[in-house]
């Protein structure tokens, strides 16, 4: 077992001083924050510790080094994500098994493409040694993943289509994962009749046969200078006549043919036909399944399963998956007896688990691979969707849906919390019903907001899922951020998006107060274009309408301006602090040379003056009286404070004058 837990040293001075203890806290995003720790108990004395103030308190962030930092790996994650999504869609419409097989093939081709890319990157010029190490790790992990997936596919996904004969498939699998021999075989073929001069001519031929490459072996033997000799001719005949199972054959017929051929071969070997050519005889002994020769072969192999498919070809060509279990066990025993000092690697063990139909342990082990659970998550999902092995899980009382759910949930949360993989993570969490939705709701607002564009992408994800809270939270954050920058227009727009009435009112208040204090209207371009959106807050309606008045006034359209002003006065949405500004705005229009306000409106202004402003001033006076020590912290901060009585009088006079003027004109007109 390789249970070596990675250890690292912090060397924190403070921690060493106080007894070399550390404390750690989990931080969102699969990180751990570590810092020095000094145990304090109920009976510790409340005095400064020895180490107080001598060393700075340092906090270390520990993060699991994962492969996802590798840019090349992203393509694997991205492609697998899209295949995953396709598979989920298939789940909704019942499809045939071959479709699931296609998905499985797609996953494997993704891994192969990835491995190819990494191999290519390893060879590029500007690659650093540290990167090569990472690449090698990635290759090792995903090579194993591909190998296991391939075997899984053969044993548990394909068998329902074909009539359960696995030997040919297993041969392909073994050849693919031990490709060296095939390369050498190609060399030999190219060398034609000079091939037999090579030192490793016979070892290669033996290995080829042990991989079940009968045809290639024959081709090489035919090129031999001795090909015309009777022993070679006989061997050629034997190999050529070896029955190979083909699709659509009657199994019984094939088996009896094979038995016959096998007996014939045994007889020929016993008759010492090949005695003149010991090497050739060795080859045929292998084909015959002779234990002695195979044991010798085993000693040259790298892993236990390397020659198992070949052995099956010559001894049990019609082996079925459920028979494989017994064969594999006995083969493994034989293998470990011949190689007593052999240590079983993780991958070899997982291959064994698959062959022995020990899926439970296989799944358990597959989660230990350093691939951030990429393999186990996608494989389990595929198994769940395709419905294979359903009975197995039921018999072993394994809750497959729950297992899949938790795997996908973990994997999705991992992606969501790792840097810039959130868009993929969401897809996985989407398959996790309520829990997934809750996780999305929690994790989406945690994505650091860099630009507004990115914020909208997150908002768009939230909207698709109906997570209004997330959308509003993001908008609020951005609104606050803009306020801090003094960009009130921007802040106001975000606040409107956040649908937070209090926030909108606060910003509108700020703009109004700023105007009444300084006479400067902030962000006029925004105020002009709210449209119907202003109805979110009465204060915003007031602001927008007041701005409209302000614009009309500026454009010298006094008649409409006066109309609007009276409307505003009547509207009952005027904030207290704005009454003085609003009423004073009326003065120039009351006093202008040509009359602009009708008598009725003038009366309205006068009424508001007496019923709104005067009581307000009274209230204020009382407040300033009770807190006279405070420097008049009131709504009248500006110059109008000192001369408030005078201004009141002026306004009353102006109203009176305009009223008389307007009455005269109106009466004259009506006559």
């Amino acid at each position: 077992m390789d249970d070596d837990i990675p250890a690292f040293e912090l060397g924190d001075k403070l921690a060493m001083r106080c007894g070399n203890t550390l404390t750690g806290v989990f931080v969102p995003g699969s990180k751990i924050a570590l810092s020095a720790f000094h145990p304090v108990k109920w009976n510790s004395q409340d005095v400064p510790t020895d180490s107080a103030g001598r060393d700075p308190v340092l906090i270390y962030m520990a993060e699991e080094a994962s492969l996802s930092d590798e840019p090349l790996l992203r393509s694997l994650l991205a492609e697998a994500n899209s295949t995953f999504a396709t598979l989920q869609q298939m789940g909704h419409m019942k499809v045939v098994n071959s479709e699931y097989l296609k998905i499985s093939l797609t996953y494997r081709s993704i891994i192969r493409a990835f491995l190819e890319k990494v191999e290519l990157a390893k060879k590029s010029i500007d690659v650093q040694p540290s990167q090569i190490k990472r690449y090698n790790e990635a290759i090792m992990v995903f090579y194993a993943v591909e190998c296991l997936w391939h075997l899984f596919e053969i044993l548990y996904m394909e068998q329902q289509q074909h009539n359960q004969l696995v030997v040919q498939k297993l041969l392909q699998w073994a050849r693919f994962h031990f490709p060296q021999t095939e390369d050498r075989a190609t060399d030999l073929l190219l060398m034609a009749d000079e091939a037999s001069d090579c030192d490793d001519y016979w070892p290669i031929l033996r290995t080829l046969l042990m991989f079940g490459e009968v045809d290639v072996t024959r081709a090489i033997l035919c090129q031999s200078r001795k090909a015309r000799e009777p022993a070679y001719q006989a061997a050629e005949l034997i190999l050529k006549s070896m029955p190979v199972y083909k699709e659509g054959y009657a199994l019984q017929k094939f088996l009896s043919q094979w038995e016959f051929w096998h007996l014939d071969l045994e007889r020929k070997l016993q008759a010492n036909i090949f005695a003149s050519e010991p090497e050739l005889e060795w080859l045929l002994q292998l084909v015959c399944g002779n234990n002695e020769q195979w044991n010798a072969g085993i000693k040259t192999s790298q892993d236990w399963y390397e020659f198992l498919p070949g052995y099956l070809l010559y001894t049990k060509p019609a082996c079925k998956p459920f028979e494989l279990r017994i064969v594999a066990t006995s083969w493994l025993n034989r293998w470990s007896q011949l190689k007593p000092d052999w240590q079983m690697s993780n991958m070899s063990r997982m291959v064994m688990q698959l062959m022995e139909h020990d899926i439970k342990v296989f799944i358990y082990d597959s989660q230990k691979l350093n691939d951030t659970h990429w393999f186990s998550t996608h494989l389990i999902d595929l198994v769940y969707q395709s419905g294979h092995l359903k009975s197995y899980f039921e018999q072993n009382s394994l809750d497959l849906p729950a297992l899949r759910h938790s795997m996908i949930y973990e994997y999705g949360s991992y992606l969501m919390t790792s840097k810039n993989l959130w868009q993929f993570g969401v897809d996985y969490l989407d398959c996790c019903q309520k829990e997934g939705e809750a996780a999305i709701e929690l994790l989406l607002p945690r994505i650091p907001l860099k630009t507004e564009r990115q914020a909208f992408k997150i908002i768009s994800l939230a909207r698709q899922r109906g997570l209004l809270g997330v959308e509003q939270e993001i908008c609020k954050v951005l609104s606050k951020r803009s306020t801090q920058e003094g960009r009130h227009g921007n802040a106001l727009e975000w606040a409107i998006r956040s649908k937070d009435v209090i926030l909108v009112t606060a910003i509108a208040d700020f703009i109004l107060q700023h105007y009444s204090n300084t006479g400067i209207m902030l962000c006029p371009d925004v105020l002009a274009s709210f449209g119907a959106r202003m109805f979110i807050s009465p204060r915003l309606v007031f602001l927008a309408k007041y701005y409209e008045f302000y614009e009309l006034y500026r454009k010298r359209e006094f008649l409409s301006a006066a109309d609007l002003l009276v409307n505003l006065l009547d509207s009952k949405i005027t904030p207290d602090y704005f009454w003085p500004s609003l009423l004073i705005d009326a003065v120039p229009m009351l006093e202008s040379k040509d009359p602009k306000i009708f008598s009725q409106e003038t009366v309205a202004i006068l009424r508001h003056l007496e019923t709104e402003l005067v009581p307000l001033i009274e209230r204020n006076k009382r407040k300033t009286a009770t807190f006279s020590n405070q420097s008049s912290k009131t709504v009248f901060k500006d110059f109008r404070v000192e001369n408030i009585e005078e201004i009141l009088n002026l306004m009353r006079l102006a109203c009176a004058r305009n009223l008389s003027r307007a009455l005269i004109i109106e009466k004259t007109l009506s006559l």
């Binding site: 768009s460 727009e493 274009s529 119907a532």
Partner: protein
């Protein structure tokens, strides 16, 4: 969906793609810019015939893009336009504009850094840079807009000097396009479009503003993409947050000329075909690219009175055929470009989609 779509995973979220301009032949190179990565790059890709033919003769697998060169950027790439055949302007989220020079070669093309502007977009109070959100090019002029609401015009010949800086908006700007040599249209997050004249100073700008139409007038609706008809420059199209396209006749800004409901997610990019102005493309956050083509036969009679099909209001739908070029990619298509009959898309799926024979 068009038949020949090929997907190439590039391990980067792509924010912008542009074909490298070619005069006489179909372009085989394109430029991509990435976003939201720990390191963002501008890359040049070249289509290469596929060496592994896996025994299938599918035309779409004939070529694969291969990265020839890359330049690391300080931040996300938000704007990518060619100023001339070999010069590329790049707007970056750190508020700077950069110029790269493209050197075509037989074997490996090269990208070379040429110039970088001063910080064009910044937040005044905290003195931090604000992202440049979009750029537009006209001749050798490049216009940039940013989240700070400023519109800058620079000349590609001298990036050190800003020709004109206009405080265009108090809200973040999301898109910009040239209407003609001197006039620009910007769009902000509230859906307000404004027109500016680069010859006038910030104070002297005419106040021309118009709103993108919206289904629900109480909903917020940003405009994220605008473009101008290549032949009839008074026709302005803008794509918005709710997925609709609003068409404006710039000679009459009182009301939109047409309002077309289209996608059901924000429109990320909108462009006419550079050679065939009867074709318009839109790309949406939901992962679709649509092709809008003017129905030639029906438009015959219309063209006589000089009216474009796009300006015919309610009748647009009968005059324009709509088709999907790319559908169901599940994640946002951020940008696309068409050259000849080939379309390239950059997406959040971290893949580049190349569509052959789009017509």
């Amino acid at each position: 969906m068009a038949a020949n779509v090929s997907i190439h995973y590039v391990s980067e979220k792509i924010s912008k793609v542009r074909w490298v301009p070619e005069q006489l032949q179909e372009s085989e190179r394109f430029i991509s810019g990435s976003w939201d990565m720990s390191k963002n790059f501008v890359r040049i890709w070249r289509l290469q015939s596929n060496q592994h033919q896996f025994g299938n003769t599918d035309a779409s697998l004939d070529f694969t893009p291969r990265c020839n060169d890359k330049i690391a950027m300080q931040d996300e790439v938000n704007g990518l336009e060619f100023v001339d055949h070999n010069t590329l302007a790049v707007g970056c989220a750190d508020g700077h504009l950069s110029l790269f020079n493209l050197q075509r070669a037989v074997e490996e093309d090269k990208l070379q850094f040429q110039a970088r502007s001063e910080r064009l977009h910044s937040l005044k109070r905290s003195d931090s840079s604000a992202p440049c959100t979009a750029i537009a090019a006209y001749g050798s002029d490049v216009a940039t807009v940013g989240e700070d609401g400023v519109l800058n015009v620079l000349s590609a010949n001298n990036l050190k000097q800003v020709k004109r800086s206009i405080d265009a908006d108090s809200i973040s700007l999301f898109a910009v396009t040239y209407v003609n040599q001197h006039e620009l249209v910007t769009a902000n997050r509230m859906g307000v479009l404004r027109m500016f004249d680069t010859r006038l100073s910030s104070e002297a700008q005419p106040k021309i503003a118009f709103m993108a139409a919206c289904e629900d007038d109480k909903a917020s609706n940003f405009v994220s993409a605008i473009t101008v008809h290549p032949m009839q420059q008074h026709i302005l199209m803008c794509g918005s947050e709710e997925g609709t396209v609003t068409v404006w006749d710039l000679r009459n800004l009182a009301y939109p000329a047409s309002y077309l409901t289209a996608h059901n997610s924000p429109i990320n990019d909108i462009r006419f075909h550079s050679k065939d102005p009867s074709k318009l493309f839109t790309a949406a956050e939901g992962g679709e690219v649509w092709l809008w083509s003017e129905n030639k036969a029906l438009n015959e009679s219309n063209q006589k009175d000089g009216n474009s099909a796009w300006l015919s209001g309610e009748r647009v739908r009968t005059l324009i055929d709509l088709g999907g070029v790319l559908t169901n990619t599940r994640k946002a298509i951020n940008s696309f470009d068409v050259h000849g009959s080939r379309l390239v898309c950059g997406s959040d799926t971290e893949a580049v989609y190349i569509v052959d024979d789009i017509f």
